[in-house]
């Protein structure tokens, strides 16, 4: 990690967070955001947050040089911190004070790595410098991007694509999506993912044909990707036929995310 991206003054600005966290022995939520604020703005924000979530104690720090606002939430898990960040975003947007992305994270109870985590959150934010005013959840895993397993999801159903993409990204996978077999094959040839999750009912190229073509590409390129079918088709005949085409797993909709994740892990053995 390069220090050129981040001066030590920023860490100093938020040093009180670390001291507070270490003294409290509690899990703490952390929100970091690019925002343009003055003393009055900070005061108004505090008043707003106290009004909206009166039961949550928080600390605010602001680095005027880099326009970074930090909010530390007492005794909060990541889920609540993320929800709280929605309030902060609403307020800053309303006041036209939001300058870029927001990152939310969580110091687990009694962690020795809080300083390291804060440093990484700040550093990632400064490297990325994203202008999109969105909330991003900090990935506390130490898996490098190159070690992450890649998954291609092919399904005509946008609900499934959105839900699985966000869910699996959060679980440490790099996820790509395609809405039909043709697009799925194009992406497959570019990406060679570790796993393909596909529906059988696909437009253009049918699911079985899609699997066959993947197998042919694999044979030609000496590649191997696991194939998991996630489908509406429940008939035994379909299940048997799909396994004959070379699928490694068959899951029917509605499905359990826990079961899906366990089967994905078994297939691609993601680094814990």
């Amino acid at each position: 990690m390069s220090d050129t991206h981040m001066s030590s003054s920023i860490i100093n600005s938020f040093n009180n967070f670390l001291q507070y966290y270490q003294a409290s022995n509690l899990p703490c939520g952390l929100i970091i955001v690019y925002a343009s604020l003055d003393q009055k703005g900070i005061h108004s924000l505090k008043t707003y947050l106290e009004k909206e979530e009166p039961s949550t104690a928080f600390q605010v720090s602001y680095d005027t040089e880099h326009h970074i606002l930090g909010i530390l939430l007492d005794d909060c898990d990541l889920g609540y911190t993320h929800f709280y960040a929605l309030h902060v975003k609403d307020y800053l947007e309303e006041q036209n004070q939001l300058l870029g992305e927001m990152v939310v994270g969580n110091f687990p109870e009694n962690s020795d790595h809080a300083e390291w985590m804060l440093y990484r959150m700040m550093n990632e934010m400064m490297i990325n410098q994203r202008n999109q005013q969105e909330i991003r959840v900090f990935d506390n895993e130490t898996i490098q991007n190159t070690d992450k397993k890649t998954i291609l999801i092919v399904d005509h159903d946008n609900s499934i694509l959105h839900l699985l993409t966000n869910y699996l990204q959060r679980k440490g996978y790099i996820v790509y999506a395609a809405v039909d077999g043709k697009n799925g094959l194009e992406q497959y040839q570019k990406l060679f993912p570790d796993l393909v999750i596909t529906e059988i009912n696909l437009s253009g190229i049918g699911g079985h044909q899609f699997i066959n073509q993947i197998k042919t590409i694999d044979k030609k390129t000496n590649n191997h990707s696991e194939i998991m079918v996630l489908t509406n088709k429940h008939l035994e005949e379909d299940i048997k036929r799909t396994f004959e085409h070379g699928a490694a797993e068959y899951i029917t909709k509605p499905f359990s995310l826990i079961e899906l994740e366990a089967r994905i892990k078994r297939l691609v053995e993601v680094t814990e």
Partner: protein, 388 residues
């Protein structure tokens, strides 16, 4: 002449006016549709961060929180259009979390209010949504709605919602009886509706088997397929002898799934006068890999019905080395002329198919074994071997 021309002008003027009015209405509908789509998209954009929060924190132990601000009916509808498809596609703890969230957002209340609407389409939509929301408080209201509704296809939507929301197997029984007694004659569809319930309906399905109504018997048999248990009720065995062919087939399929048949039974049904039952059994033996019955198929491949003979050939090919050898023997005419042609045809197809799909070492070993067996009966000079 003058009068006719004037009438024609009038007619043209009326038609042009009508066309303009119709065009205006069509344009109005299109503009309205576009405006509401835009409004919906804008609303979805506003919820973008919130929906991302839901997807990312779905797995978090803590509950999902509803949006802080008070939602308008339109905003509830937009959120509902996103959340309900998620609920339909998921099961387990994540679905439960989303159901709790929908309740907290007020979607149950919103739809319960719509259930009282004077418009039947709105009531139907609300009933559908309440089914997905698994709101147990509305089952009796949905039952009343069902009894009041015209007996068209909309009753299936209401019935499905009743099955999804009911916490009492007796209500599902009443529902099925109502549908069957009022002329809905699709046992598969009615059984599918009852399967939407998360309750244990085995006792209800068994009760249906004892009814005099054949539709109910069929629903019972279809329902039990999903809940296969080693203990098959005695009545299922009697249903095998039913005069209704569909009941016979369903009862047999149930016995097959439960593996509740002896070798004597299998032998008996493989020689049954009805070719569809012979075919069902020949297919089942291969499909389930029941190698203990391989020898029984030797006779069936010579069946006078071409479909049974062909199905038997397919099953023999699925039954390992011994099955494949019987297939080769039949094709070579070892057991006589009957079935020889079908076996030979299938054999050629199978070997060609196998070589096209070779990809793994196990496939190649299996293929070599088959070719070895084939050569044992047909020799190396046979044209198929050359072709391969």
């Amino acid at each position: 002449m003058f009068i006719n021309l004037q009438a024609a002008y009038w007619m043209i003027a009326v038609l042009i006016t009508l066309m303009i009015i119709l065009m205006g209405i069509t344009l109005g509908i299109k503009v309205n549709k576009k405006l509401s789509a835009k409004k919906e998209n804008d609303c979805l954009d506003d919820f973008h961060s919130y929906l991302y929060y839901l997807q990312v924190q779905l797995d978090n132990q803590a509950m999902l929180r509803p949006p802080k601000k008070t939602l308008s009916s339109f905003e509830k509808k937009v959120l509902q259009n996103t959340l309900l498809p998620w609920i339909e596609r998921l099961k387990g703890v994540h679905r439960e979390k989303l159901l709790t969230l929908c309740e907290d957002i007020g979607l149950n209340h919103y739809n319960k209010r719509r259930l009282q609407s004077p418009w039947s389409m709105v009531r139907l939509d609300a009933a559908y949504n309440l089914g997905i929301l698994r709101d147990q408080e509305v089952t009796s209201q949905l039952m009343s709605l069902l009894y009041r509704s015209n007996f068209d296809s909309s009753v299936y939507i209401i019935a499905r919602s009743i099955a999804q929301t009911s916490d009492n197997p007796g209500e599902i029984k009443d529902l099925v009886l109502y549908l069957v007694n009022n002329g809905k004659q699709h046992p598969h569809l009615i059984a599918d509706i009852s399967k939407e319930s998360s309750l244990d309906l085995r006792p209800v399905y068994i009760q249906f088997l004892y009814e005099d109504n054949s539709k109910l018997n069929k629903i019972g048999l279809i329902g039990l397929q999903e809940q296969v248990n080693e203990e098959i009720p005695e009545i299922v065995h009697s249903s095998i002898k039913s005069e209704d062919k569909e009941i016979r087939m369903l009862a047999l399929q149930l016995c097959m799934s439960a593996m509740a048949l002896t070798e004597k039974d299998v032998k008996y049904y493989l020689q049954f006068p009805d070719w569809e039952i012979r075919n069902l059994f020949a297919d089942w033996i291969g499909y389930s890999g029941l190698i203990q019955y391989t020898e029984l198929l030797k006779e069936r491949i010579q069946d006078s019905n071409w479909i049974v003979s062909r199905t038997t050939a397919k099953s023999l090919a699925q039954l390992g080395e011994h099955g494949f050898e019987i297939l080769c023997q039949t094709a070579a005419g070892v057991h006589g002329e009957r079935g020889r042609e079908t076996a030979e045809e299938y054999l050629k197809e199978k070997l060609k198919q196998t070589i096209d799909n070779l990809s793994q070492v196990e496939d190649i070993t299996e293929y070599n074994q088959k070719v070895f067996m084939y050569q044992k009966y047909f020799g190396k000079s046979y044209d198929l071997i050359n072709a391969l």
